[in-house]
C-alpha cells in the first residue's frame, strides 16, 4: 500500500517521478506524498463506464451560449 511507503522506498518513488531532492526536501516530500495518498484514496474505485470526465472538448471557434 502506498500509505506504507517508507522514507527509503520514497526515495525511489521520487526518482521515478523525475524529482531531484536534497535530504531535507526528501523528508518533507515524503510527508506530502503520504498526505496525498489520503486524498487519492477518496477517488471512486470502480466508477460507471459511462461516467464521463467533467472536461469537454470544444472544437476551436465554438461559442457556448446559455
Amino acid at each position: 500500500m502506498s500509505e506504507d511507503v517508507t522514507l527509503e522506498a520514497f526515495r525511489a518513488v521520487a526518482a521515478q517521478a523525475g524529482l531531484a531532492l536534497d535530504e531535507g526536501e526528501t523528508v518533507r516530500m515524503h510527508e506530502g506524498y503520504l498526505g496525498l495518498q489520503t486524498l487519492l484514496a477518496r477517488l471512486p474505485v470502480a466508477p460507471d463506464m459511462a461516467d464521463e470526465p467533467s472536461l469537454v472538448f470544444l472544437p476551436t471557434g465554438t461559442r457556448v451560449v446559455l
Partner: protein, 466 residues
C-alpha cells in the same frame, strides 16, 4: 469629506460624478495611506503612483467635460500581481518573474480601465497564487490589518489586506480553492468567486485552468456588484468563457427578497473537528437575519466536504504541475520552498488519477445540483472558515491542505458562484466570514442575498485599527 481612503466604490463613484470630490483627491488619499501603513502590511509589490495620478487628472477632466463612464470612473483599485498589466511588471510574487513586464493587460484589467477605474498598484500574493505565506521571496508576505501578527490568508493576501486597510477601494483576486474567499473572510471584506466562465481569466497567470476564477474583492457586496458590472461578459479568447447575458447587478441589489429559499449546509462545519464557536454563532445569526429579510432557510445535505476537497486538490496539483514542471525542474532555486515543495506533489499524480478526479468532479457537481433541486433552494449558506486568521508563527506547514478540508473548495469544483461576506468578529477582534453560493450563473442572486444580509447585519463602517 473625511477618511477619503475608506469611501466605498458606490459613494466614491457618486461623489466623483457630482464633483464633490475629485479622482485626484481620492487617488492621493490612497497613495498617502499606502505610504503611511503599507510598510507594516506589505500588501503592495508595486505602487504605480505616477501613472495613477496622471490617470486621475485625466478622469477628472473627462468627467468635467461630460464623459462620465460609470460608477468606477476615477475610483482607485489594485490588482493581485498575477494579473498582466501592460508596461507594469507582473511578478506573481516570484523571483522567477522579478522583471517580467507584460505587453498587454489582462482582459479583466482592460475592462476595469475601460470603466474608468484607476490602478494604483500590484498586490502581494502567495507565490504563483500557491506558495505562501513565504519568507524566502524577494518581497515580504502581506499581513492582516486587523492584527499584523496574523496572516491575511491567501493566496489573494495583498488584495484582502489592502482593501480592508483602505489602501484602495477594491481589488482583483483569484480563486482556485478559496483564494478570494479566504482572504475576504479573515480580512472582514466581501469577495466574489463568480461562476466559472462568467469573468475572463485571460492574462491572469494560471494555477489550475479548470478551477481558476477571477473575481472582485471590496469592502461591501454592493461594491463587488459594481465591479462585476465591468468584469462580467463573454471573452472569445478565453476558452472557458460562456456567452451569458450580463444583468444589471447593482440594480438587482435594490429589489426585495422575493420567495428565496436558502439551504443551510451544516455538516461541512459542525462536529468535533469543525468550526469554532464564534463561526458557528455567526452562521446561526445569519440564519436569523436572512429569515428576517424574508428568506426561508432550510437544512440541506450536500456531498461530503472531504470528497470536494480531495477532488479539487488532486485536479489542482495535477494541472499546476503541468504548468510549472519545466521551470521548477530546471531552476528550483528560483522559487520559495513552500511553492517548490507543494508544486512537486503533482509529480506523484498519475494520468489515471487525474481522469478519475475529473470524473468525480462531474458526479459532485451533478449531486450538488440535484440536492439543491430536491430541497427547492435557490441559494446555499455555509461556513467560509473554521475560525479567525491564524498567527504567522502557526502558518508554517508545508502542506496545509492535508489538514481540515477547505470549506471553499466545493464551489471551485462545481463552478457555482460563491460570495464571502463579513459575518462579524471573534472575541479576539479578528473578522469571520460566511459563504453564500448559488446555482451556476446566478451570481446576481448571490450578490443580492449577500447585500441584504450585509445591510441587516450592519457594522459596515468598522475598520482595522491600523
Amino acid at each position: 469629506m473625511s477618511d477619503l481612503h475608506y469611501l466605498s466604490i458606490a459613494d466614491a463613484g457618486a461623489a466623483i460624478r457630482e464633483r464633490k470630490v475629485s479622482s485626484a483627491e481620492l487617488v492621493e488619499a490612497c497613495l498617502t495611506r499606502i505610504e503611511m501603513v503599507d510598510g507594516d502590511l506589505h500588501s503592495f509589490i508595486t505602487v504605480t503612483g505616477a501613472d495613477a495620478r496622471a490617470e486621475a487628472v485625466a478622469a477628472d477632466r473627462a468627467i468635467a467635460e461630460g464623459g462620465w463612464k460609470g460608477p468606477l470612473h476615477g475610483v482607485p483599485i489594485a490588482l493581485k500581481d498575477i494579473y498582466s498589466t501592460a508596461g507594469v511588471r507582473t511578478t506573481c510574487h516570484s523571483r522567477l518573474l522579478h522583471d517580467n513586464v507584460p505587453q498587454e493587460d489582462a482582459e479583466t484589467v482592460a475592462r476595469l480601465k475601460a470603466a474608468g477605474a484607476i490602478v494604483v498598484g500590484k498586490l502581494a500574493t502567495h507565490e504563483f497564487a500557491f506558495g505562501g505565506p513565504s519568507h524566502d521571496l524577494p518581497w515580504p508576505a502581506a499581513r492582516n490589518p486587523w492584527n499584523p501578527d496574523h496572516i491575511p490568508a491567501g493566496s489573494s493576501s495583498g488584495s484582502g489586506a489592502a482593501v480592508a486597510a483602505g489602501l484602495c477601494a477594491g481589488a482583483m483576486g483569484s480563486d482556485t480553492g478559496g483564494s478570494i474567499r479566504g482572504p475576504a473572510g479573515v480580512c472582514g471584506i466581501a469577495g466574489l468567486k463568480p461562476s466559472y466562465g462568467r469573468v475572463s481569466r485571460r492574462g491572469v497567470y494560471p494555477l489550475s485552468w479548470t478551477l481558476d476564477h477571477a473575481g472582485p474583492m471590496a469592502r461591501s457586496v454592493e461594491d463587488c456588484a459594481l465591479m462585476m458590472q465591468a468584469l462580467a461578459g463573454y471573452d472569445p479568447q478565453d476558452p472557458a468563457s460562456v456567452d451569458v447575458l450580463v444583468p444589471d447587478y447593482a440594480a438587482a441589489l435594490k429589489r426585495p427578497a422575493a420567495n428565496l429559499r436558502v439551504g443551510y449546509v451544516r455538516a461541512w462545519h459542525e462536529g468535533p473537528d469543525g468550526a469554532d464557536a464564534d463561526v458557528c454563532a455567526a452562521l446561526d445569526r445569519a440564519v436569523v437575519l436572512l429569515g428576517e429579510q424574508g428568506m426561508e432557510v432550510v437544512d440541506v445535505d450536500l456531498p461530503d466536504i472531504r470528497d470536494f476537497h480531495a477532488c479539487g486538490r488532486i485536479i489542482l496539483l495535477a494541472e499546476a504541475w503541468a504548468i510549472h514542471r519545466a521551470t521548477v525542474t530546471a531552476t528550483p532555486e528560483n522559487y520559495g520552498a513552500f511553492f517548490r515543495d507543494r508544486i512537486r506533489l503533482g509529480a506523484f499524480i498519475s494520468a489515471a488519477d487525474y481522469v478519475e478526479a475529473v470524473r468525480m468532479r462531474r458526479r459532485l457537481t451533478e449531486a450538488t445540483a440535484a440536492a439543491m433541486e430536491a430541497a427547492g433552494v435557490d441559494l446555499l449558506l455555509c461556513a467560509n472558515q473554521y475560525g479567525p486568521a491564524e498567527r504567522f508563527d502557526q502558518a508554517t506547514r508545508t502542506f496545509p491542505f492535508f489538514g481540515k478540508p477547505y470549506l471553499t473548495m466545493p464551489f471551485n469544483v462545481t463552478g457555482q458562484p460563491a460570495l464571502t461576506v463579513c459575518a462579524g468578529f471573534a472575541e479576539s477582534g479578528l473578522p469571520i466570514g460566511i459563504q453564500i453560493a448559488g446555482r451556476a450563473f446566478t451570481d446576481m442572486l448571490v450578490l443580492h442575498a449577500g447585500h441584504l444580509y450585509e445591510q441587516a447585519r450592519g457594522d459596515l463602517g468598522r475598520h482595522p485599527p491600523i
